[in-house]
C-alpha cells in the first residue's frame, strides 16, 4: 500500500500549483482519489466522520444497477437472435449484448466526463462523482441501436445544460440522464419513436409495436404475457425490461438506505391507483398492477425518481412528489396515444415542481412550529 501511495505522492507533485501540469490537477485528483482514499483529516467541528462518502454512495447505486445491466445485455442478444430466427446459447447472447453496450457506455463516459473534468478544473473543484451514475444509466435507457454520435451529443447536452450551467452535481434541478433521453426523444424522434420496439439489428419483418402501443391501439392479443414482462424477455431498452432485476436493484438501494423508500413506494402507489381508476372507468384495458410491469415505469420509480438531488428534499414532500409522478406517468401513457411511455416526462415534470412542493411543505412546517411554540407558552 505504501508503495502505491508513495508513487501517487510523487506523481502528484507535478500537478501542484506553479508546476507545468497544474492545469490538469482536477483530473489527477480524480484519478488519485479513485485509487486511494483521500488523506484529508478533520479540521474543525466534529473530529470523527462517517466512513461514507459520495464515491461509496455512487458505487452502491451502480451495484444496484448491475442486475438490470447484466440481464439487459443477455436479453439484447436473445431478442436479436430471436428476431433473426437463430438459436444460440446463453453466452453468445450475452456477448452480443455486451458488444452492443460497450461502445454506448464508452462514448457516454468520454463525452460526459470530458465536460465534467473541464468544468471542475475551471472552477478549481474536485471532480464530483455524480456523472458515474448518470453515465451508467444513459446507455440503459437509450434504444440499443441508437447511433453513437447521438448518444455523445445527448450526453454532452445534458451534462452542460442540465448540470454544469447550474453549478454541477448537487445544484441541478433536472435528472441529467433523463434530460439526455428527452433530448434524443425530441431532437431525433426517428431513433427513439415511442411505438415501435427496439431490437438491435432486427430483421425488418419482425419489428413490431411495443406492448404499450399495442395496448393503446387495442391489440391486446398480440401483447407479450405479463410473466414475460416481469421476467424481462421482451424487447426494449437494456435496463428497463426485467422487472425482477430492477426489484433486486431496489432491494439493494433500500437496504443500504441510499434511495428513499418514500419516493419508491408513492410512485408505485400513484401509478397503481391511477391505472386501476382508468381501468375501472373503461378507458384502458390494462389493469393497475399490469401498468407497473409495462415500459420503463419500474425502472423510473426505482432509479430515476429517487435521485436525491432532483427529488423533493422534505420528508412529506417526497410522498407528494412520488405520488404525482406515478399519477402523471399513467395519465400521459393512457391519454397521449402518440407517446405511450410517460415515465420520462412525468419525472422531468415533477423535477421542475419539486422545489415548489418543498416550498409549500416548509411553509406548513413553519406555521406548525409557531403554533407549537404558542401552545407551549399557554401551558407554562
Amino acid at each position: 500500500m505504501s508503495v502505491i501511495s508513495h508513487i501517487s505522492e510523487k506523481i502528484g507533485r507535478s500537478f501542484e500549483k506553479g508546476r507545468p501540469l497544474h492545469c490538469f490537477h482536477s483530473l489527477w485528483d480524480a484519478v488519485d482519489t479513485f485509487l486511494l482514499t483521500p488523506a484529508e483529516v478533520t479540521k474543525e467541528g466534529s473530529h470523527i466522520r462517517d466512513a461514507v462518502d459520495m464515491k461509496r454512495i455512487m458505487i452502491t447505486v451502480m451495484i444496484a444497477l448491475m442486475p438490470a445491466l447484466l440481464f439487459g445485455m443477455w436479453n439484447l442478444g436473445y431478442q436479436h437472435y430471436l428476431s433473426v430466427g437463430m438459436e444460440t446459447g446463453f453466452w453468445s447472447c450475452f456477448w452480443y449484448g455486451f458488444l452492443k453496450w460497450l461502445p454506448l457506455v464508452i462514448v457516454t463516459y468520454i463525452s460526459g466526463l470530458a465536460i465534467e473534468v473541464a468544468f471542475a478544473q475551471w472552477r478549481g473543484h474536485q471532480v464530483a462523482e455524480g456523472f458515474f451514475v448518470t453515465g451508467f444509466i444513459i446507455p440503459l435507457i437509450m434504444p440499443p441501436d441508437v447511433p453513437l454520435w447521438i448518444v455523445a451529443v445527448a450526453t454532452a447536452f445534458s451534462v452542460l445544460f442540465a448540470k454544469e450551467v447550474f453549478g454541477g452535481t448537487g445544484y441541478n434541478f433536472l435528472n441529467p440522464a433523463l434530460v439526455a433521453r428527452a433530448f434524443v426523444f425530441f431532437a431525433y424522434p426517428s431513433v427513439i419513436s415511442g411505438d415501435s420496439v427496439w431490437i438491435a439489428e432486427s430483421a425488418d419483418a419482425v419489428s413490431g409495436a411495443t406492448p404499450l402501443a399495442l395496448v393503446m391501439n387495442g391489440n391486446m392479443a398480440q401483447m407479450p404475457s405479463f410473466l414475460d414482462m416481469f421476467v424481462g424477455t421482451i424487447p426494449g431498452c437494456i435496463g428497463e425490461t426485467s422487472k425482477i432485476a430492477i426489484l433486486l436493484g431496489a432491494a439493494v438501494l433500500l437496504f443500504t438506505q441510499v434511495a428513499s423508500w418514500r419516493i419508491m413506494l408513492s410512485v408505485v402507489v400513484g401509478g397503481f391507483v391511477t391505472g386501476a381508476l382508468f381501468h375501472t372507468a373503461g378507458v384502458c384495458p390494462v389493469n393497475g398492477w399490469q401498468h407497473l410491469l409495462m415500459g420503463g415505469f419500474l425502472f423510473g420509480a426505482v432509479f430515476m425518481a429517487t435521485d436525491p438531488v432532483t427529488a423533493t428534499h422534505t420528508k412529506s414532500g417526497k410522498y407528494i412528489y412520488g405520488l404525482l409522478i406515478g399519477v402523471l406517468a399513467i395519465v400521459i401513457r393512457v391519454v397521449n396515444k402518440g407517446y405511450p411511455e410517460g415515465m420520462m416526462l412525468a419525472i422531468l415534470l415533477m423535477n421542475i415542481f419539486a422545489p415548489l412542493i418543498d416550498y409549500c411543505v416548509v411553509k406548513v412546517k413553519v406555521k406548525k412550529r409557531k403554533l407549537n411554540i404558542s401552545k407551549h407558552r399557554i401551558k407554562l
Binding site: M1, I4, S5, S8, T33, F34, L35, L36, T37, P38, A39, E40, V41, T42, K43, E44, G45, S46, H47, I48, R49, D50, A51, V52, D53, M54, K55, R56, I57, T60, Q126, A128, E129, G130, G167, G168, T169, G170, Y171, F255, T256, Q257, V258, S260, P308, V309, A311, H313, T314, K318, D358, V362, K365, V366, K368, R369, N372, I373, H376, L380
Partner: protein
C-alpha cells in the same frame, strides 16, 4: 416529565473513564479568551503582575462587569498574542503553597441583584450561558427559564453524578442561589438521565425535574430546551453546567472561592482513562506525557463531536468536563470506496460492517472523502431530534437568509446541535462552523436580545 428522544446516535469508543480520581498538580495555568464565545477581552493585567484567586484577568468589552478571573494565586508569566495583537492566552504561574482557594467575606445576599453582583465580582458569572447564541448573558437580563443538564450523552462523557459525588449539599445551595438570581417567576429545569444514578441532584428545591432517555443528543441542553420550553425570537433561556452550580453553591455555603473541578480523561489513546481533579486552566502536559502511548494522537478538550483540538497551551476549557484523545487518521487505502468495509463505521448501510453489527470501531480523524455539494437529503433528519427542518435551516444559514432562519427556528439551535449532522454528512460539509458563523452574523444584525 418524561421525554424520550428517538432520533440521534450513540457513537461507541474505547476509553471510558474508570471511577478513579487522581489529583493533577502543576504550576502552569492557561486562560484563553477564546474559551468564551465571541468575548472580546479587555486586559486587566500585565506580564509580571501578581494575582490572587479571583483577581480579574480580563473583562468583556461589551460589558465591563463581566470578568474572567484568575483561578490561582501566582504571577502572570506571559501574555501570548496572536494575529493583530489579539490576546490568545494568559499564562499564569502558581505560588507553591495552597494557591487554589481564597476566603471571601460578604454579607448574605437578599435580592437577585446582590446575588448577581457577587457572582460578577468573583468571576462566577461566566459559568452562566444563554441561548440563543451560547454566550455569557448580560448582567441586566433575566431569562424566561434556567436549564441545568445533569447528564451528558456525548461519546465517553463523564457521569455528572460522579463529578458531584459528595457535593450534593453544594449543588442544592447553588440551585437555591440561582433561584434567587432568576426570580420566583422563572422556572429552573433539572434534566436527568432516566434510570441513571441521580442522587446528587435529587435534593434540589424549587426545580422541575425532567427525565430524558434515548441516544445522544438527549443530554444536549439544546434538545432539552426544545422539548421543555422552546425559544422564540426575543426570548432567552439560561443554562449552566451542573458542576458549576456546585461551585457557586460552595462559594455561598463556605465563602471559599475556588475553581477546582473534576475532568474525565478519556479516549482510545489513553493508557488508563480516569478522572482527575484540577483547577480551571491547569496545564495538562504531565497527564498527556504519562497517559498517551500513540505517536500521532489528537488531543481534544471536550468530546469528539464538539471539542477543540489542543496544541499550544494544553488545558481543559471552562465549559468542558472531558478530555478526549484519539488517533489521527489520514492513512490512504487502495480503492477504499469499493472494498466491503468490514471495519468501517457508518450510519448508512453501505459497508458490510453494518451487517455484522460491530459494536466498537477504531475511530480516527480521517475525513473519509472529499468535500462535495449537497446530494443526500434525508440523512440529517435521522440524527436531529428537533421539530426543525435541518437541511432547510442549513441552507438558509449558507445563503444568509435571516428571515428564513428565524422562521425555521435558528434561535433554538447552536452549533453543537448540528454535530451529528456533520458526522454523518456524506458530502463532508462543516455544519458546526456554518451554524456558528450564521449565528454570529445574526447576532450582529439583531443585537443581543
Amino acid at each position: 416529565m418524561e421525554f424520550r428522544i428517538r432520533k440521534g446516535l450513540d457513537i461507541r469508543l474505547d476509553g471510558e473513564a474508570r471511577r478513579e480520581v487522581r489529583p493533577l498538580e502543576t504550576v502552569r495555568y492557561y486562560v484563553s479568551p477564546s474559551d468564551f464565545r465571541w468575548l472580546k477581552p479587555q486586559l486587566l493585567v500585565q506580564a509580571g503582575s501578581e494575582v490572587a484567586v479571583g483577581t480579574p484577568l480580563f473583562a468583556s468589552k461589551e460589558d465591563e462587569r463581566v470578568v474572567v478571573v484568575s483561578s490561582v494565586k501566582g504571577t502572570v508569566r506571559e501574555i501570548v498574542r496572536g494575529e493583530r495583537r489579539s490576546v490568545e492566552t494568559i499564562v499564569l504561574e502558581a505560588f507553591p503553597s495552597d494557591p487554589f482557594r481564597k476566603q471571601v467575606d460578604f454579607a448574605e445576599p437578599e435580592t437577585s441583584d446582590e446575588v448577581a453582583s457577587l457572582l460578577l465580582s468573583n468571576g462566577l458569572w461566566p459559568f452562566l450561558r444563554q441561548r440563543p447564541f451560547s454566550v455569557i448573558p448580560s448582567p441586566d437580563s433575566r431569562p424566561k427559564s434556567l436549564f441545568i443538564s445533569c447528564f451528558d450523552s456525548a461519546p465517553l462523557a463523564p457521569e455528572h453524578n460522579f463529578l458531584l459525588q459528595g457535593r450534593a449539599e453544594e449543588f442544592r445551595e447553588g440551585v437555591r442561589r440561582l433561584h434567587q438570581l432568576v426570580g420566583a417567576g422563572c422556572p429552573i429545569h433539572l434534566c436527568l438521565r432516566d434510570g441513571a444514578e441521580n442522587a446528587c441532584f435529587e435534593a434540589a428545591e424549587n426545580v422541575q425535574f425532567h427525565h430524558f432517555s434515548g441516544p445522544h443528543p438527549a443530554g444536549n441542553v439544546g434538545t432539552q430546551i426544545h422539548r421543555i420550553d422552546p425559544i422564540d425570537k426575543g426570548e432567552c433561556v439560561w443554562y449552566i453546567h451542573s458542576q458549576d452550580v456546585a461551585a457557586i453553591g460552595r462559594f455561598f455555603l463556605t465563602h471559599i472561592l475556588s475553581f477546582e473541578r473534576m475532568v474525565a480523561i478519556t479516549g482510545p489513546c489513553i493508557k488508563s482513562p480516569c478522572y482527575y481533579t484540577m483547577v480551571y486552566g491547569a496545564d495538562i502536559s504531565t497527564i498527556l506525557q504519562e497517559q498517551i502511548e500513540a505517536k500521532n494522537a489528537r488531543i481534544i478538550s471536550g468530546n469528539i463531536l464538539t471539542g477543540k483540538q489542543l496544541s499550544q497551551s494544553p488545558h481543559v476549557r471552562l465549559y468542558d468536563t472531558q478530555l478526549t484523545v484519539i488517533a489521527e487518521g489520514g492513512e490512504r487505502e487502495f480503492i477504499g470506496w469499493l472494498l466491503p468495509g468490514f471495519r468501517k463505521w457508518s450510519l448508512s448501510h453501505t459497508f458490510t460492517a453494518w451487517l455484522f453489527r460491530r459494536k466498537t470501531f477504531n475511530h480516527n480523524t480521517s475525513l473519509h472523502g472529499g468535500r462535495r455539494a449537497f446530494v443526500m437529503t434525508d440523512v440529517y433528519e435521522k440524527v436531529f431530534p428537533f421539530e426543525i427542518l435541518p437541511l432547510q435551516l442549513l441552507k438558509a444559514c449558507l445563503t444568509d437568509d435571516i428571515e428564513q432562519m428565524e422562521e425555521l427556528g435558528i434561535y433554538e439551535v447552536d452549533d453543537e446541535d448540528f454535530a451529528l449532522c456533520e458526522v454523518v454528512c456524506p458530502s463532508k460539509m462543516e455544519w458546526q462552523k456554518t451554524v456558528r458563523e450564521a449565528l454570529f452574523r445574526l447576532r450582529k444584525e439583531i443585537g443581543d436580545s
